[in-house]
Amino acid sequence: MAESFDLDRPWQLHPQVSVRPERFGALLYHFGTRRLSFLKSPALLTVIRELGDAPSAREACLRAGLAPAELPAYAAALQTLASSQMIRPREPA
């Protein structure tokens, strides 16, 4: 978990991942790894939805209405999702 998350590159949801919104945020299921993850805030769900279109994860966070001070916590959450292959780097368009 020491690895830090690169907020400045483009990311995307893994194509084998399904997202189901819930009151607390969302459930994610990866059909390839057969693992389940939780998004523990609705804002993080918005970030995930913005990831695929935004030029960077930082931009996706801002589009989700996050304040700059909130970014470190969200970067940590994204790193967790990256390490379980729920999201993955995307080649810049």
């Binding site: 189901r20 607390f24 459930l27 059909f31 390839g32 057969r34 523990k40 967790t80």
Partner: protein, 404 residues
């Protein structure tokens, strides 16, 4: 099933239920070629009211709409349904993943090849002994050989990481390392689950459930292996020993889990096939979604629980009183301790209700022509696992099962 990162706050959220189940078990048929002594659904004969292929497809359509990621299909032996493979294909084509439990009877080399080719299908082979003697005493003659042949076919077809699913009993609790070795031999993953006094399991529970010292040994073994070994969250009552095991560590009945049985009845959990836990039927207007969202039973389960007699226990926040079904079918109150409470409260509670009527599982589909041995302990001594003397003589004793 989950990341270790599930915080208490998230568990609190789950207690109040989700928009759709995370873990849905669907028993497709009560028909089975075996007659396991502990079968949680008392399977054997097909129920003539079984859902048709079209009705099963309609359920899958609904699951897709509800975004149920995958279903755990079981039975009975689901692969004996002639439309089984078609239904699996239908589900995966609709983005509903399938994990199915089988005794292996239909896992031929050809079938193994086609299963290995799909990302959306997982296979779980049931095995209740690391040796044929221990396994076959519970699952029937030849069942060990059938399971191992299926595993070999899957491994040869290149199916990596299929599951070997073991119900932990007094007879196999000392074989955990051997099960792990079998899983490694076939490139599979080991899954251990708890024996419940459900279905025919009610008849053999007293003799087959692990002893207190075996429970402790199991807990230590699971903690040491972390996420290498799956448990389907079934040992959360052991969290009272100390650290929680990986998983949600709560009773998910009606909150994150439920069961659809072969005739479409929806129960709070796979181990609670009884009218008290029947929430509705998928054939009702509104289908499965309406049952999940609107049933009064599920609404009740999603309300905060009182904890009852367990509330004052220091371990309550860890084990949350344990398994509802285990309590119910051993005659214990639902707001008291689990019969296998690690603090020993369950044994004392059972002693207190000894002699009182115990609820019987709902529906018996056992083969008529092949009586199910209700006690493997009473068979003549011979080569095999150490036989434990049945507790019969103590049945009337208020201290039956009590171990200080």
């Amino acid at each position: 099933m989950t990341q270790r990162g599930s915080t208490p706050a998230l568990v609190e959220q789950f207690q109040y239920g989700l928009d759709a189940p995370i873990c849905l078990t669907w028993e497709l048929t009560y028909a089975c070629n075996l007659a396991c002594v502990h079968c949680l659904s008392s399977s054997g004969r097909r129920d003539p009211r079984e859902l048709s292929t079209a009705e099963c497809r309609a359920v899958i359509d609904e699951l897709q709409r509800m975004q149920v990621f995958y279903v755990n299909i079981g039975g009975g032996e689901p692969t004996v349904r002639p439309d089984f493979w078609d239904l699996v294909d239908y589900a995966t084509a609709h983005r509903v993943g399938v994990k199915f439990s089988t005794n292996g009877v239909k896992i031929t080399p050809e079938r193994a090849e086609s299963l290995a080719a799909s990302d959306y299908v997982d296979v779980q082979i049931s095995l209740d002994g690391a040796t044929a003697v221990v396994n076959d005493a519970v699952r029937g003659p030849g069942s060990y050989a059938t399971a191992l042949r299926a595993m070999q076919n899957l491994a040869r077809a290149g199916f990596r990481g299929f599951k070997i699913s073991v119900v932990v009993t007094r007879q196999n609790a000392d074989q955990l390392d051997d099960f792990k070795a079998i899983a490694e031999r076939f490139g599979a993953q080991l899954r251990l689950t708890r024996l419940r006094p459900s279905g025919r399991g009610a008849d053999v529970w007293d003799e087959l459930h692990p002893t207190a010292s075996q429970q402790r040994q199991l807990y230590d073994w699971l903690v040491a292996r972390g996420e290498q070994v799956l448990t389907g969250d079934s040992f959360f009552h052991l969290a009272a020993y100390g650290d929680p095991l990986p998983g949600l560590n709560l009773c998910g009945a009606g909150r994150v889990v439920c069961l659809i049985d072969p005739v479409g009845d929806v129960y709070a959990c796979p181990f609670a096939i009884h009218e008290n836990f029947l929430a509705g039927n998928v054939r009702d207007p509104g289908g499965f979604a309406a049952v999940w969202r609107d049933s009064e039973l599920f609404a009740g389960l999603r309300r905060p629980q009182t904890g009852g007699a367990c509330r004052s226990c220091s371990a309550y926040d860890s084990c949350r009183g344990g398994c509802m079904a285990a309590k119910f079918f051993t005659g214990l109150p639902l707001d008291g301790p689990d019969p296998e409470c690690v603090k020993g409260h369950g044994e004392r509670a059972r002693a207190a209700v000894a002699g009182a009527p115990v609820p019987r599982p709902f529906g018996n589909h056992s083969h008529r022509s092949r009586p199910v041995p209700v006690s493997i302990g009473r068979r003549p001594a011979g080569p095999g696992p150490a036989r434990h003397r049945p507790d019969r003589a103590c049945d009337e004793d208020p201290l039956a099962g009590f171990r200080p």
